[in-house]
């Protein structure tokens, strides 16, 4: 069952919760959702899983960007509630009608919600019942959709729904639903009824009317055609207007819905399935399918022409001065639009700007996957928002992206490691830093350039007169210990070594013991470079980390990598989590980016790594000397990324 449904503002005030459900949530799933998902630019995902002692919830959410509202539904993970998306969309639609900025309490929404919930549950129930029937008669055609939905849901509950397949997005993105509807057309009549009512919630214009009576459908189509013919520019608005009638009268609609539901009670449904085999039923279905097919095409055209118009406007906007007469109408209307401000941003409006932005990010070496996710998240935060006067879509998108990037790159935890060293010193423990990474990022055999990155805090620690000791735990590669010894001699700091062919975990442990004996405050543990797929070596690393419980696990990564950055970090984190024997595995705490001086403006690796791991970039190495380690300047990175 649904555990709780909340409506709150982005400012953080809860406007409405369902008092009837009344179940006290264990832990604080909502706060965790906001902190670890919505604020991390992961709002493009379909759902979020919350784990706490004695509770495992799945959370789904939707935004109303124009009003700044967030709708969150919480339910038990084990129940795969199919109607949650549907319900959220319905609640969003109804609530935005009565929302008023001045009001802070909405007791009258209780009644509306009860009704919406009953409808949503009924639809889900209906779908469940209709599904087996549809399958038995119409065979595999109708199944495709239900399967798709099921898998979408599964992907959603795994939290990895890359393409919003769970369908958290209500508004008219089309392809999947369209496909589903066509398939429905081919299957039998009864199935269509069930399916249509299910789809209705996602604000597709008046489809339920089509399935219940065809007359209404014709009217609807006419309206659509008219809106299309009227003026191509306002096509999108026209579609919205066509949506209008079905939206404008909620009580009427509610009645109608109920009526549909009443009609398709099990008995009548069985009747229908029988008829489905008859000729009359068959013809009816064909007719319906045809009608729907046409309507889809119409809609498609409207949408595409609309988006084309938008693109043109965008281009014109950009090159307004260069050739203003290229398309007079487009220019004028865009001019007018930029002054008056556009009503509401739609997905199709944002797409060209987002695509340009994504390409720009990718030329800056941001991993494609990350750029895609970021754009989705930005789109989710802008959709439905009003465009302010004297602004262009591209600049709005640009500003939103900039804000998102700053948010991501701003470290979540303190990156003042000297402070941590002091705390450790007070507790009379050495502060242990373990360096991990793939081969050649700062630990390969060639030359002194390698190790100066690993010795980075030396210049900081020396100022504080903190004793530093190095532990040579790279017992894998020949020459590694000697190399470290050379560095130690040059920097005049002690080194702990046990030669090769020893378990690095044991060497590290002994080094830490030695450090606490002779009063060193910091132990820098050097490990062998390893590829993220090398299972035995990763296991050894996991053991080292588990056995010694270091204060800081620092991932050393190259600033040069592109798409591989994601793979490296996620695999490292994954392996550390998987191979660890403890219940709370240590993951990577921070990132050290090396070779930052070689990459010019292709700083995307920093973004990819931070996004995928959530760990901050502690230092960037940008030079050959021992002191060339700097902190990351978030503002300049963001500026470079969007340049």
């Amino acid at each position: 069952m649904l555990e709780q449904l909340l409506i709150f503002t982005r400012g953080g005030l809860i406007l409405w919760t369902c008092r009837e459900l009344g179940n006290a949530l264990r832990g604080s799933p909502i706060d965790t959702l906001i902190r670890s998902c919505l604020l991390e630019e992961r709002s493009g995902a379909a759902s979020y899983n919350y784990d706490a002692p004695g509770a495992s919830y799945s959370l789904k959410w939707t935004f109303h960007n124009d009003l700044g509202l967030v709708f969150v539904a919480v339910y038990q993970r084990i129940l795969h509630l199919l109607y949650v998306d549907d319900l959220l969309a319905a609640v969003k639609r109804e609530f935005s009608k009565i929302y008023d900025e001045k009001r802070t309490e909405y007791p009258d929404f209780d009644e509306v919600f009860r009704q919406l919930k009953a409808e949503a549950e009924a639809r889900a129930e209906d779908l469940k019942k209709a599904n087996p029937v549809g399958r038995s008669i119409a065979g595999g055609v109708g199944n495709g959709n239900s399967k798709k939905q099921g898998s979408g849901n599964k992907a959603g509950s795994e939290g990895g729904g890359k393409k919003k397949s769970g369908g958290g997005d209500g508004d008219g993105d089309g392809d999947r639903k369209k496909g589903g509807r066509l398939e429905n057309g081919h299957s039998n009549d009864n199935f269509v009824v069930g399916k249509e009512t299910n789809l209705k919630g996602s604000s597709v214009n008046g489809k339920e009317n089509e399935s219940s009576n065809l007359g209404a459908f014709d009217v609807n189509r006419l309206q659509k055609l008219r809106s299309k013919g009227g003026n191509g520019k306002k096509g999108g608005d026209g579609a919205v207007a066509a949506k209008g009638p079905s939206k404008a009268e909620p009580p009427k609609k509610a009645v109608k819905k109920n009526r549909v539901w009443d009609e398709s009670t099990p008995e009548t449904k069985l009747d229908f399935t029988d008829h489905g085999a008859d000729d009359g039923g068959e013809r009816n279905v064909d007719f319906l399918a045809k009608e729907q097919g046409e309507s889809m095409m119409d809609k498609d055209e409207v949408v595409s022409s609309d988006s084309e118009a938008e693109e043109e406007e965008d281009d014109d906007d950009a090159g307004k001065n260069s050739k203003p007469d290229a398309k007079k109408k487009g220019w004028f209307s865009s001019m007018f639009q930029s002054i008056a401000g556009k009503a509401n941003l739609e997905k199709s409006d944002l797409e060209p700007a987002l695509k340009a932005l994504k390409d720009r990010l990718m030329t800056k070496n941001v991993a494609e996957e990350i750029a895609e996710k970021l754009c989705e998240s930005v789109a989710a935060s802008l959709e439905g928002k009003k465009l302010a006067s004297f602004t262009r879509i591209s600049s709005t998108v640009h500003a939103a992206m900039e804000e998102a990037l700053v948010r991501i790159l701003t470290p979540r935890r303190s990156i003042d490691i000297l402070r941590d060293v002091h705390v450790a010193k007070e507790q009379r423990k050495p502060y242990v830093v373990v360096f991990v990474g793939v081969n050649g990022v700062g630990k390969s055999t060639n030359l002194a350039k390698v190790k100066e990155n690993n010795l980075f805090p030396f210049n900081l620690f020396k100022i504080l007169y903190v004793g530093v000791m190095m532990a040579a735990c790279d017992t894998f590669r020949s020459g590694a210990v000697e190399q470290l010894r050379t560095h130690a001699r040059r920097l005049q700091i002690p080194i702990f070594e046990k030669g090769y062919e020893k378990d690095p975990a044991v060497v590290a442990k002994e080094a830490i013991q030695e450090a606490s004996r002779n009063g060193s405050d910091v132990v820098l543990v050097d490990t062998a470079g390893r590829m993220q797929d090398n299972e035995p070596l990763m296991r050894a690393l996991s053991k080292l980390i588990y056995l010694n419980n270091p204060d800081l696990v620092l991932f050393v990564g190259e600033a040069l990598v592109g798409n591989d950055a994601v793979d490296q970090l996620s695999k490292f984190n994954q392996k550390l989590a998987d191979l660890s024997t403890s219940s709370a595995p240590r993951l990577i705490d921070g990132i050290l980016l090396t070779k930052f001086d070689t990459i010019d403006d292709k700083v995307g690796a920093a973004l990819s790594m931070v996004y995928i791991s959530g760990a901050p970039v502690m230092f960037v190495g940008c030079g050959q000397s021992y002191t060339d380690l700097k902190k990351l300047n978030v503002k300049s990175i963001v500026k470079t990324l969007l340049k």
Binding site: G11, L13, I14, W16, I34, T104, T410, V421, H422
Partner: protein, 259 residues
Amino acid sequence: MEQLDQWKEQLLHWRTLAEDQLRQVPPVQLYAAAAVLIFTTLLLLSLRLLKRAKSNTIVLTGLSGAGKTVLFYQLRDGSIHGGTVTSMEPNDEIFVLHSETTEKRKTKPVHVVDVPGHSRLRPKLDEYLPQAAGIVFVVDALDFLPNCRSASEYLYDILTKGSVVKKKIPLLILCNKTDKVTAHTKEFIRRQMEKEIDKLRASRSAVSAADITNEFSLGVPGEPFSFTQCYNKVTTADASGLTGEISQLEQFIREYVKP
């Protein structure tokens, strides 16, 4: 002396010249010019005044979960409505304090900004600090010790910001949730934070010697840090957002935003 006389003569000469010129100009133009001059000065003055009057901003800040949004709504409506969750955007509003809405005489509205405490959203604070008349740093007195370090770090960052130091914006450390029995006292919190900032100072100054630069350093070197050494005035107070016991906060606001 001779030179002085010479200058006087010169001056007189110029004066007569100017008077001649003035006589040639029709009086209407003169009046118009004078009017324009007066008008512009008035305009500039009023703009200046307005700008100064605009600085009635109180910034609520602190760690996530300290109770800033609750305090914001207590100030505005005197009620916390249905409760709050973690904020994703600042609450930014100009209103008359709820406790003063019943008063007969007219009071000036206050611009209160509640900046989210989530560390990812901290850059937002920089937007509001330059125009602030006072900063309220909200601390969770109930759950203080685990958060002491991060709270102190945040406070340190605020106290060393250029915009705060230059304008000497007063800061109030508000210990929230004091209605609970196990809450720490404000004296204890103040002492702990001073200690923590003292340590931070050492590590930060070492870091800044290496490569990071803080805009200003805090306190007197060689002495243990205390808030009295700050450039701006730092005070402490108690409050309880849940029960609506916020009189000390209102007092602070009224001290720096005159009614």
